[in-house]
């Protein structure tokens, strides 16, 4: 191992205690992601892909196993440390957009920056640039309810970009969108990946997976497939 990859998951387990029943959401998942990759994590519902996303996204901790983000073991960090990691390394795009309805597009995009103590001017500057990057330079003063679904999702992408994250995590980013907007959003994600941003998409939609250079398939909490669609892309976590 010459250099440490961007993400390294080693034998990750996650079990939930639901009263008497123990649910094994993840059973020994391990893979690596290098900078610049465009990865889809796919699987039917109940396969554990959401759980995996939460762990990669530092929203949750694995029950067992190790998770290295930029070489740092983050699998046993405290809540506030995880919050800081999310702010520093991760950007999120959710299926339900998750914008704050009372705030303008600009304020929504600037929100992550307030938690790293950026000055007001800095925040406006960065947020404006991020909105321009997703083609919403003319919608900065709009509130979410004045925007279409596709536009909302673009605001969400801009928000995830504002902190210049190491990884952009997208959870079913096109799940609530019509076909045109779906194409739109995937187009933006592809563009962003072209410009060098690492993206991990969690989806059950094969159309979304088709855009990605690498697809990791989950079933019942285990990886059942990890394939790169383009030759030449290194996939160190390749299991076959």
């Amino acid at each position: 191992m010459a250099t440490e990859p961007l993400l390294r998951l080693e034998n990750i387990h996650k079990t939930y205690d639901m009263g008497d029943v123990r649910v094994h959401a993840l059973r020994g998942v391990g893979f690596r992601v290098e900078p610049g990759e465009f990865v889809a994590i796919m699987g039917p519902s109940g396969s554990g892909k959401s759980t995996l996303m939460h762990i990669i996204g530092c929203l949750d901790r694995p029950t067992a196993g190790e998770y290295f983000l930029e070489g740092e073991d983050v699998s046993q960090k405290g809540d506030d440390e995880l919050a800081e990691l999310r702010n520093r390394y991760l950007g999120f795009v959710f299926q339900e957009f998750n914008l704050l309805p009372s705030m303008t597009a600009l304020e929504n995009v600037a929100l992550p920056l307030t938690y790293r103590g950026a000055s007001a001017r800095e925040r406006v500057e960065i947020a404006t640039r991020a909105l321009e990057r997703v083609g919403l330079g003319d919608r900065v003063r709009h509130k979410p309810n004045q925007l279409s679904g596709g536009q909302k999702q673009r605001v969400a992408i801009a928000r995830s970009l504002a902190t210049e994250p190491a990884v952009l995590m997208a959870d079913e980013p096109t799940g609530n969108l019509d076909t045109t907007a779906q194409g739109d959003i995937m187009g933006i994600l592809c563009e962003l990946n072209e410009s060098g941003i690492t993206i991990i998409v969690v989806t059950h939609d094969p159309a979304v997976g088709a855009h990605c250079k690498r697809v990791i398939r989950l079933l019942d909490g285990s990886i059942v497939g990890d394939e790169s669609s383009r030759p030449g892309v290194v996939s160190p976590g390749e299991t076959r």
Partner: protein
């Protein structure tokens, strides 16, 4: 996140439901207004009584009998004679309420028989005319010095001097009118008619006096004079504790104790409503945290730490209670003004304003901590899932 951000997002949160915020603040507004008003009333009453006693004249000492003891004018003379630190004494007979008549006018007023020098001991001032002297007391003159109310009621703007007022069928010539003391507690105030003690004793067929007023040489010897008077009276009546001797200082002390107790009590009662207001804040903050679970989830997902969320909601509840406190202070002040219309003296002191303000801030902090802590410890995944 800096405090400015917490402040901004708190204002944002409150603006999101203005009516609810206003109603929640109303609890605090009422509480603070009640504290301000009631403390003002208590303080005003205290100031009033203190001023009344202060009007007694410096160095005044009051001698009143205990049960089984009958004081008379001789005792007053004896005190004046035998206590070297006492300059003068004046016996006083409180003869209850009688009707005073002038022509067709009639007015119920309290009649007091007093000795010469009463005006000096009590620091009584006259608007017009003069007080009666030694001679008139000796001769049982039928002269009267009337209070402001009596003058107004009977003479209605006419000059009362030299007029003849009838009390219990006896005619008294008005020789003076007392300066108005304003509406106040006890002491008779303005509705009083003063006649010579000797005349009063004959009119009411008694030899007793209610109280003996004595004037000490100075405030320094007032305590010494008091104990001297007590000794002489005990000797005279052949028993211990025959009389109550109260100096003006003691009286002031007692009144101050009583009124400050009253003020604290009123304030505490009002404080309960402030407490209820605080519970209102906690209630609404809990609802708000529940409603904004998703917002909290989003904020946490993008990097908000526990203390960021805690600060946001805490600032929100403190803003609610401080805002309510400020408005409440304004309302309380107005209310105190309003109460004065009914003749009560009130005093809104900086102390009570500061107390109410500080207390409301503390209420916001105290009742905001629990909801804010609830918000801060939410799990981001659960919060994001919340519908």
């Amino acid at each position: 996140m800096r405090l400015g951000e917490a402040f901004r997002s708190a204002v944002e949160g409150l603006r999101g439901s203005i009516l609810r915020s206003a109603l929640t603040a109303l609890g605090i507004i009422i509480g603070v207004a009640a504290v301000i008003t009631l403390i003002a009333v208590g303080q005003g009453a205290g100031d009033d009584i203190t001023a009344e006693i202060g009007r007694l004249g410096a160095n005044a000492i009051l001698v009143s009998s205990r049960s089984g003891i009958a004081l008379n004018t001789d005792h007053a003379a004896e005190i004046a004679e035998r206590v070297p630190t006492v300059i003068r004494t004046a016996p006083v007979l409180n003869a209850g309420t009688s009707a005073a008549r002038w022509g067709a006018q009639s007015h119920d007023t309290s009649v007091r028989g007093v000795g010469a020098g009463y005006d000096i001991i009590t620091g009584t001032q006259l608007v017009t005319g003069r007080f009666f002297g030694e001679n008139e007391v000796e001769r049982r003159s039928r002269v009267a010095v009337i209070g402001n109310d009596v003058s107004e009621e009977l003479f209605r703007g006419r000059d009362p001097l030299g007029q003849s007022v009838s009390v219990r069928g006896q005619a008294f010539t008005v020789i003076g009118v007392l300066e108005s003391q304003g509406s106040s507690f006890g002491g008779g105030g303005d509705n009083v008619i003063l006649i010579p003690i000797s005349t009063a004793q004959r009119l009411f067929t008694t030899t007793r006096v209610s109280t003996i007023y004595a004037q000490a040489e100075s405030a320094e010897v007032s305590a010494m004079a008091s104990s001297h008077i007590r000794r002489i009276m005990d000797l005279r009546f052949g028993r211990e504790d025959s009389v109550n001797v109260t100096s003006q200082d003691q009286l002031l002390d007692i009144v101050r104790t009583v009124t400050s107790t009253l003020t604290v009590m009123l304030g505490a009662i009002a404080g309960i409503s402030l407490l209820v207001g605080g519970i209102g804040i906690m209630n609404i903050m809990l609802v708000s945290v529940k409603e904004r679970t998703r917002e909290i989830g989003i904020r946490k997902a993008v990097g908000a730490k526990k203390r960021d969320i805690l600060a946001q909601f805490l600032v929100e509840s403190i803003l609610l209670s401080l805002g309510g406190g400020l408005v409440g202070i304004g309302f309380g002040w107005l209310l105190a003004r309003f109460v004065e219309v009914f003749g009560l003296t009130t005093a809104v002191t900086p102390g009570s304003v500061l107390l109410a303000f500080g207390f409301s801030a503390a209420v916001g902090l105290f009742f905001g901590v629990y909801p804010a802590a609830q918000a801060a410890k939410l799990d981001p995944i659960e919060a994001l899932r919340y519908q």
